[in-house]
C-alpha cells in the first residue's frame, strides 16, 4: 500500500492517486506504470497517446509550486513513466524486458554469433577492413565504400525482417494460455532469445558500418 502525500489516501501502488490525481512515488513494472495489461503486442500510436496523457498529469512542470515532497513524487513518477515508455516503445527493449520479467537472461548461452548471421558478420567485417586499408580518395576506396553503402541497405532489410519475426513471437506469447504455460513458454522463450540476440548483432553491425562510412567521409 502507498499513501498519497496530498490527500492521505492509502491505496494499491499506482502512478496517480485515485482520489486527488497527485503523482505517487510507487515502484511499478513498465506495463503497470502505463496502465497496460501484460501483453507483448503494443500499438505504438496508442502507447504514445497514453504516455503524453499521463505526462500531462504528472510532469514536474505541473507541480513546480507545490511542496517538496509532492515535487519529488512527481519527479520519481515521471522518471518511471519515461523509462517505461522507452522500454515498451522499442520492440527489442520490450522483448528483453519480458525476459527479465520472466526471470530469464539473454547473455547466458547466447554469446556466440547466431548461426544464420555468421556468414554475414564475416562478410561485413571483411568489407570494412578492406575499406579501412584502401588508400584514401582512390578508385578502389570509392568502389568499396559504394559496396558498403549497399550492404548497409541489406542489413537494414534484414533488421526489419528480424523485428517482424519478433512481432510474430510477441503475438504467439499473447495467444499462449496463461493457465498452462509449461512447454509453450519454454519454446517461445528460446525463440525470443534467438531473435533478440540476432537483433543485438545486427545493431552492432549497423553501428560499425555507419561509423566506417562516417570516417571514410571525414577522410
Amino acid at each position: 500500500m502507498i499513501e498519497c502525500l496530498s490527500c492521505g489516501r492509502r491505496q494499491e501502488p499506482r502512478l496517480i492517486c485515485a482520489d486527488c490525481g497527485t503523482p505517487l512515488p510507487a515502484s511499478l513494472d513498465c506495463f503497470a506504470a502505463l496502465g497496460l495489461p501484460r501483453r507483448l503486442s503494443i500499438d505504438l500510436a496508442a502507447l504514445e497517446r497514453i504516455y503524453h496523457e499521463l505526462s500531462r498529469k504528472i510532469h514536474p512542470d505541473r507541480f513546480a509550486s507545490r511542496e517538496i515532497g509532492i515535487r519529488d513524487a512527481s519527479l520519481r513518477a515521471t522518471a518511471l513513466l519515461t523509462r517505461s515508455y522507452r522500454t515498451l516503445r522499442d520492440p527489442a527493449a520490450r522483448g528483453l524486458y519480458w525476459l527479465d520479467l520472466t526471470g530469464e537472461k539473454l547473455a547466458e548461452n547466447n554469446k556466440r554469433v547466431p548461426v544464420e548471421l555468421a556468414e554475414l558478420v564475416f562478410d561485413v567485417q571483411e568489407q570494412l577492413a578492406g575499406m579501412h586499408d584502401a588508400a584514401a580518395d582512390s578508385d578502389s576506396a570509392r568502389g568499396l565504400a559504394a559496396q558498403v553503402v549497399k550492404r548497409r541497405g541489406e542489413l537494414q532489410a534484414t533488421m526489419d525482417e528480424t523485428v517482424a519475426e519478433l512481432e510474430r513471437n510477441f503475438i504467439r506469447w499473447d495467444q499462449s494460455s496463461p493457465e498452462s504455460p509449461g512447454k509453450d513458454h519454454k519454446m517461445l522463450t528460446m525463440e525470443l532469445k534467438a531473435i533478440l540476440s540476432k537483433v543485438a548483432y545486427l545493431r552492432t553491425l549497423i553501428r560499425d558500418v555507419d561509423r566506417a562510412l562516417e570516417n571514410s567521409k571525414a577522410a
Binding site: 504514445e48 503524453h52 505526462s55 500531462r56 510532469h59 514536474p60 512542470d61 505541473r62 513546480a64 509550486s65 519527479l75 520519481r76 515521471t78 522518471a79 518511471l80 519515461t82 523509462r83 515508455y85 522507452r86
Partner: protein, 624 residues
C-alpha cells in the same frame, strides 16, 4: 501567486522576460531603456562590481594587458581588476577543460582545481559568482522597471542553458541563480524555449528544427509537436562555435602581417574585434564595406566584401550543418521530414546562414521574432507553463549526453543514453569484489566515448559502509535519476535490508555544497543592505576609484596634461572629494561622470603612449 520570470543568461547578452497580459514581453531596465544587458562584468580590486554597458565602457579605459595579465589602470593602488566577458564559456568547467583561447584571456587562480577561478586582485571569483552578478543586475533592473505599479519582486526564475550543456555546466548555472538570491524553478534548453516563443503549438502536429547560432555556442534541436506536447527528439551542438569565431577569423585577416607584439596587444585586438563585428553586421545588409581600425600612429584600412566574409564563415557554418545531420540521424528523421525551422541567435542574421539552413532543410526558416529576444520570450512562456498558465502545453526535454559508470578495464558502461527524455532514472545493482569489502567506489561519467578516460568525469562516490560479508553477497541498488533540469541525483538502497545508503557524491568539477553555502552567506550579507545604501556605497566606490586613478596617472604621466586641463581636473576632483563624504548619491554620480569625461582624453593619451611603447621596436612599414 508571484510570477515566475524567464531569463536568457547569454554568452554575449542577457535578458529577462515575463508574461504580461497573456503575452511574453522582455523587460527593459528603466535607466537605459535597453532590453539587452551585455553579459560583461567589471570587478574592481576592492570587489566593487559593474555590469552591462557600463562595464564595457570601463573596459578600454581601465584595462591594459602586460605580462599576460589584464590589469586595471583606472583603479587605485596599482592593483589588478578585470572586465570579464563571455563568462558562460567558463561555467562548470575545470582548468583542464578550458579551450586554449579561453585560458589565455584571463588570469586564473589554480587551474588544477575542480573549478576555474578568476584571479582578480587578491580575490578569486568562480564563474558562477560572476554570472550571479549578471543575474542580480537583471533582477534589480526588472524590479526597478516594475516598481511603479506593483513593487513586484523577482524571486523565482526559469533560466535557459544551451541544450548541449553537460551536468556540471547546468549545475553551475543553478548555483549562479542561488548566489543571486533566486530560486531557479527550472533550467530550460535554449532551442526548446525558442520553439515555445514561436507558438508552434498551434501547429497541431509536426517536426521542428531549432537552429541556434549565437555569439559563443551552437545548438540544434529537433522537436516533435503533438497537441501541445513539445517533445525533444534529439539535440546536438558545439559549446565552442559561434559568431565570435567569425569575428576572430576577420580579426586574423585584419591583423595578418602585423608584428606579434601588436597582434597580441589586448587594446589592438579589442579595437580590431569591435571593428570586425561591426563590419560583419553591416555585411548582412550591404555587399561590401570598409573596415577602419585606428591604432596609435597607424590606421588599418581594409576592404571586405560579403563574398570574402562568407568564405571566412563557410567552414564554421559547415560545422553547424554537420551537427544538424547528426541530430536528424538521432531523431531518426530526414531533413525533408522537418515542417518548420526556427532561427535563434544573432549569427543567424547573416544571409549565408539563412541560405545554407534553407538549403539543408528544403524550406525557408522562420525568423520573424528578434533572434536576440526569442529565447527569453520562450523562457517566459515556460515560466507561465510552470505557473499553470498555458493550458495543456508541456515540454518534454532530453538529456544531451549519455550517462554511465566506469567498469573494469576503464570502460564506460552507458546507463542512460543521450537524447533520452527527462526526467528519467535507471537502477543498477552493485556488489563487492572481495570478502568483507566495506566500500564500493563508483565513478560516474558523461559522454559518448567508449573509454572512461575519454569521457567527462561527473562525480565519484563511495557506497557504504557495507556490512562485512563474502564477496558478491551484498546487493546494493543505486538509482541514477536525471531531473527535469538535466541534473543528476543519486541514491542507493541495500536490497536486503531496504535501508537507504547515504550517497556523498563529490562532483569532479564544480562547487561543493559547502562552497555554495559559504558564497551564499557572503551574498546574503550584501543582499540585506538596503538598495539605496548599496547604490550610495557603489557610487562612493566609483568616486574613490576615479580619484585614486587620477592621482596615480597624474603622478606617472603628468607631462601629458596641459595647465588648463590640469586646473579643470583639479577643480572637479576637489568637488568630488567633498561630495563623496556626503550622502547625495546623485551629486556624486554626476561629478564622477564629469570627471570621467574630462579625463577621458588623458586616459586615451596614456593608452596611446603605452601602445606606442609596444610598437616602437617595429617600424611603421611593417604594419601596413
Amino acid at each position: 501567486m508571484e510570477r515566475i520570470f524567464g531569463i536568457d543568461l547569454g554568452t554575449t547578452n542577457s535578458l529577462i522576460a515575463a508574461i504580461e497580459n497573456g503575452a511574453p514581453r522582455v523587460i527593459a531596465a528603466p535607466e537605459t531603456g535597453k532590453t539587452l544587458l551585455p553579459s560583461v562584468v567589471a570587478i574592481a580590486p576592492d570587489g566593487a562590481v559593474t555590469v552591462g554597458e557600463r562595464a564595457i565602457e570601463m573596459e578600454p579605459h581601465l584595462t591594459v594587458e602586460h605580462g599576460g595579465q589584464v590589469s586595471a589602470v583606472g583603479y587605485p593602488g596599482g592593483e589588478y581588476g578585470a572586465v570579464i566577458r563571455s563568462v558562460k564559456r567558463y561555467m562548470g568547467l575545470g582548468g583542464d577543460e578550458l579551450a586554449p583561447e579561453d585560458r589565455a584571456r584571463y588570469t586564473f587562480a589554480d587551474l588544477a582545481g575542480p573549478v576555474v577561478r578568476f584571479q582578480i586582485g587578491k580575490r578569486v571569483f568562480t564563474p558562477s559568482q560572476i554570472s550571479a552578478e549578471i543575474l542580480r543586475a537583471l533582477k534589480d533592473g526588472a524590479e526597478r522597471a516594475l516598481a511603479d505599479n506593483e513593487r513586484e519582486k523577482v524571486e523565482r526564475v526559469v533560466i535557459t542553458v544551451p541544450a548541449y550543456f553537460n551536468d556540471g555546466q547546468r549545475q553551475a548555472t543553478k548555483d549562479a541563480g542561488r548566489l543571486a538570491g533566486l530560486e531557479v524553478v527550472r533550467l530550460v534548453n535554449e532551442p526548446t524555449a525558442a520553439s515555445l516563443a514561436y507558438g508552434l503549438n498551434k501547429l497541431a502536429t509536426g517536426n521542428v528544427a531549432v537552429y541556434d547560432f549565437g555569439g559563443g555556442t551552437f545548438d540544434i534541436s529537433i522537436l516533435s509537436i503533438k497537441e501541445g506536447i513539445f517533445e525533444v527528439l534529439a539535440t546536438n551542438g558545439d559549446t565552442h562555435l559561434g559568431g565570435d569565431d567569425i569575428d576572430r577569423a576577420i580579426v586574423d585577416w585584419l591583423l595578418a602581417g602585423l608584428p606579434e607584439t601588436v597582434n597580441q596587444s589586448r587594446h589592438v585586438w579589442n579595437s580590431a574585434r569591435m571593428a570586425a563585428e561591426d563590419a560583419k553586421k553591416r555585411l548582412s545588409d550591404l555587399s561590401e564595406t570598409e573596415i577602419v581600425v585606428e591604432l596609435p600612429g597607424h590606421t588599418i584600412r581594409k576592404h571586405l566584401t560579403r563574398d570574402n566574409l562568407e568564405q571566412m564563415a563557410e567552414p564554421l557554418i559547415a560545422r553547424t550543418l554537420k551537427r544538424c545531420e547528426l541530430a536528424l540521424a538521432d531523431a531518426k528523421l530526414k531533413a525533408g521530414d522537418v515542417d518548420a525551422v526556427v532561427l535563434v541567435g544573432g549569427s543567424t542574421r547573416m544571409p549565408i546562414v539563412r541560405r545554407r539552413v534553407a538549403k539543408m532543410f528544403h524550406r525557408e526558416p522562420l525568423c520573424s521574432i528578434d533572434p536576440d529576444q526569442v529565447v527569453a520570450l520562450g523562457a517566459a512562456i515556460q515560466a507561465s507553463v510552470l505557473m499553470g498558465g498555458q493550458g495543456d502545453m508541456l515540454l518534454l526535454d532530453v538529456v544531451p549526453l549519455s550517462l554511465g559508470i566506469e567498469t573494469m578495464g576503464g570502460v564506460m558502461e552507458r546507463l542512460i543514453h543521450r537524447n533520452t527524455t527527462i526526467p528519467t532514472s535507471v537502477a543498477e545493482g552493485f556488489t563487492t569484489a572481495v570478502d568483507n569489502q566495506t566500500h564500493v567506489d563508483i565513478h560516474v561519467l558523461q559522454g559518448e566515448r567508449e573509454l572512461a578516460k575519454d569521457c567527462r568525469s561527473l562525480a565519484r562516490f563511495k557506497l557504504g559502509p557495507i556490512q562485512s560479508q563474502p564477496a558478491g553477497v551484498p546487493r546494493i541498488e543505486v538509482t541514477f535519476l536525471i531531473d527535469a533540469n538535466g541534473i543528476l541525483n543519486v541514491n542507493a538502497r541495500d536490497e536486503r535490508t531496504g535501508r537507504e545508503h547515504s550517497v556523498d557524491v563529490k562532483p569532479s568539477y564544480g562547487l561543493t555544497d559547502e562552497e555554495i553555502e559559504r558564497m551564499l552567506e557572503e551574498a546574503i550579507d550584501l543582499g540585506e543592505q538596503d538598495l539605496e545604501e548599496r547604490l550610495l556605497i557603489s557610487s562612493r566606490n566609483d568616486a574613490e576609484q576615479i580619484l585614486g586613478a587620477l592621482r596615480k596617472q597624474l603622478g606617472e604621466f603628468g607631462a601629458l596634461v596641459d595647465r588648463i586641463e590640469r586646473a579643470r581636473m583639479d577643480e572637479v576632483a576637489e568637488r568630488l572629494e567633498e561630495a563623496r563624504m556626503g550622502a547625495d548619491r546623485e551629486l556624486i554620480a554626476k561629478l564622477v561622470e564629469d570627471l570621467n569625461e574630462i579625463t577621458t582624453p588623458f586616459a586615451e593619451r596614456i593608452m596611446d603612449a603605452a601602445i606606442k611603447l609596444a610598437l616602437e621596436k617595429k617600424s611603421v612599414d611593417e604594419l601596413s
